[in-house]
Symmetry: C2
Subunit: 397 residues, 2 copies
């Protein structure tokens, strides 16, 4: 039984702050500083070049990937760490397009995180030859899958609205039409149970600095199904994905399996920070996390709707249709978020009108939710239109 | 006047070790642990999401790039940090091929670091359409540049032999034939004065974990000439290179200038480690560094040649033709390097027969060189053929 009161005590949360922005940058676990310091001083400082073997640096992209695999329902040995989410999107897309040579269309939706769309645009431009990115409204994705689609590139949970796609349905329909699927788990990994293998997903990508609390610029991950792991030839064919990197062959020969998705030298300090956070995640039962998360988000929705009639829920109410964030809309959303931040309730504003808050039972509890609701209600009732005050505050990204 | 005795005191070097492998992974500066700890605890821990503005994280790829720019003779505002060297090679190549649309050949040499060749192979495969990578022997590069070449992709200093290409000559000939140039500075940046702007280089890429001492997996850099900075459209078009990343537009619009070469979220912990090292580099005059480096490498060559007649110099003797590493060949090179490591002289073996040592005046002095020569001479005279001993030692990468 996961003890969420105990996990909360493992995070370094500034006093008086209710941090509802762990879906943007997760907070610092207490153990991270010492872990990173150990890697810097004892590993890099003392082992120097031999750290690649003696401290296991060379194996970290796969070993750490295995710890992520459990959280996202992936087969062991099929999640690899490295690079950034955007790079991993490109890598997955290029592999999928190569495996569907008679098709030219990437399908995504207008709720996808823009960087995914930009990377797809860039790849299509590089490929030329009629390749294109097609975007439809999030609710139209399922119907838009037909025999022209090479691959779907979908972020499971919409970064603004919090709406969640049905991974199993979309994957099944894609496969029925001969298409492949790439799932961006940026707002899924660590937010709820993900079942990549069960859904039959082909590729998945994600970042670790949100719900997985690896810190600013933490490494991304990529998943490849065992069906494709030794078949997908990487476009980003770096030496760390070579079958024998230290043979220094002049020609590329991909490693067996998912390891071929490595590219360059792994970021060992960022990986150390991630490992400290994964020590907490190793103790978490994902089904219990989901139950606790829904309790928090239900409570927040109920509280805000009762106290703030002018805020409109943007996130689907139905459990199956959302992740672990709740967004409300208001024309003055930017000013409201600035007022919340000034009162210690940290969330994000997303244009044009979204007040976005993320909830994770690892460090947010019902007392936090109730206090956040009180503060938001107070802002809405008393100080919203005092605009001069907000304009002097710095914009928070 | 750079005080190299003073810089040596700024590094954490294990007692009794002569570390001639800073060209593979630089040693730890004393100040790095505290700098990284500050970023973890005071910035990430206390500022959380607001660190992107308040701690200047968002601007670091360009600000840190400016500090690298001075070391490589680049114009300010034209060096950007991020990703790995392999990714930056791909990015530069894709941009260059797009700017030379009538040509199909990437020219490189067989002494290039394999990952550069692999990335070029992967890009050619993705592009199809007759694109190819041509490799010639290092000494034949200049003559191989003709009107069919789209871009040269050359690592300035050969990672095995230490042979240095003439950047100005190759760049001039490439331009005379309408080709572009990409210079990989992995073994140049921090090794000697590089003059990118003066040579008229088009693109350059490099890593920071070698001579620049940023630690394992430190970020790469990319340079784009001001001539191309607002013209090169990135294939890896991530949101951090968008003109307005937080507008979350659905279409990519590259940022003005070199900033468009950013891709995803920058690795803030690795950048903090790099910044601590750059505090040392800020005090170094590059011409003085080169003088001191040549004094060390000349002394090492002279000492080894005098004491070890069976070792054959693989690095050119002429100053202009080499960087800051010296390689000797011996059929038993692997065993000799293992014996050196066992005696505290750390270098690299590179197949088939290269004993490679890197020299940087920041933390290596003449006493170290003399002691290394003594140890190598002793190994060659006394224990080389005692092979059973070496076989029990672990292979060092």
């Amino acid at each position: 039984m996961t003890n969420f009161a105990a996990t909360k005590a493992l995070f370094d949360l500034p006093a008086g702050m209710i941090y509802l922005d762990g879906n943007s940058l997760g907070p610092l676990p207490h153990a991270t500083a010492a872990r990173v310091a150990h890697t810097v001083t004892e590993e890099w400082g003392k082992l120097l070049i031999t750290g690649w073997n003696k401290a296991g640096w060379m194996d970290k992209p796969m070993r750490v990937g295995d710890r992520i695999a459990r959280l996202i329902g992936a087969e062991a040995g099929h999640v690899v760490m490295g690079d950034t989410l955007s790079i991993k999107v490109y890598q997955a897309l290029a592999s999928c397009l190569e495996m569907t040579p008679t098709r030219r269309v990437i399908l995504s939706d207008t709720g996808n995180f823009p960087s995914d769309l930009y990377m797809a645009e860039g790849l299509c431009r590089t490929l030329g030859d009629g390749y294109s990115l097609k975007t439809v409204a999030p609710e139209d994705v399922l119907d838009a899958i037909d025999d022209t689609i090479a691959v779907t590139m979908i972020t499971e949970v919409d970064y603004r609205t919090g709406r969640r796609h049905d991974m199993a349905d979309i994957t099944a329909r894609a496969h029925a039409h001969g298409a492949l699927t790439i799932w961006d788990l940026a707002h899924s990994a660590g937010a709820f149970e993900v079942e990549l293998a069960k859904a039959g997903a082909d590729f998945a990508v994600g970042c670790t600095y949100k719900y997985l609390n690896s810190g600013p610029g933490g490494p991304a991950f990529i998943y490849v199904s065992p069906r494709h792991a030794s078949r997908a030839v990487p476009a980003l064919s770096g030496w760390q994905g070579h079958d024998a990197p230290f043979a220094f062959d002049l020609s590329y020969r991909p490693a067996t399996g998912a390891e071929r998705l490595r590219v360059g030298t792994p970021p060992i300090l960022q990986l150390a920070a991630l490992e400290a956070s994964l020590d907490i995640w190793d103790t978490v039962d994902m089904a219990e996390l989901r139950t606790a998360s829904l309790r928090l988000t239900d409570r927040y929705i109920k509280g805000v709707e009762a106290a703030c009639p002018s805020l409109t829920l943007a996130t689907p109410r139905e459990h199956a249709l959302r992740g672990s964030q709740v967004s409300f809309r208001h024309p003055e959303g930017y000013a409201i978020m600035q007022a919340m931040i000034a009162r210690g309730v940290i969330g994000d504003f997303r244009a044009p009108d979204i007040i976005r808050c993320g909830f994770t039972p690892l460090f947010i509890d019902e007392t936090d939710v109730d206090r956040a609701v009180e503060i938001i209600a107070d802002i809405m009732q008393n100080s919203l239109w005092d605009r001069a005050e907000y304009k002097t505050r710095a914009k928070v990204t």
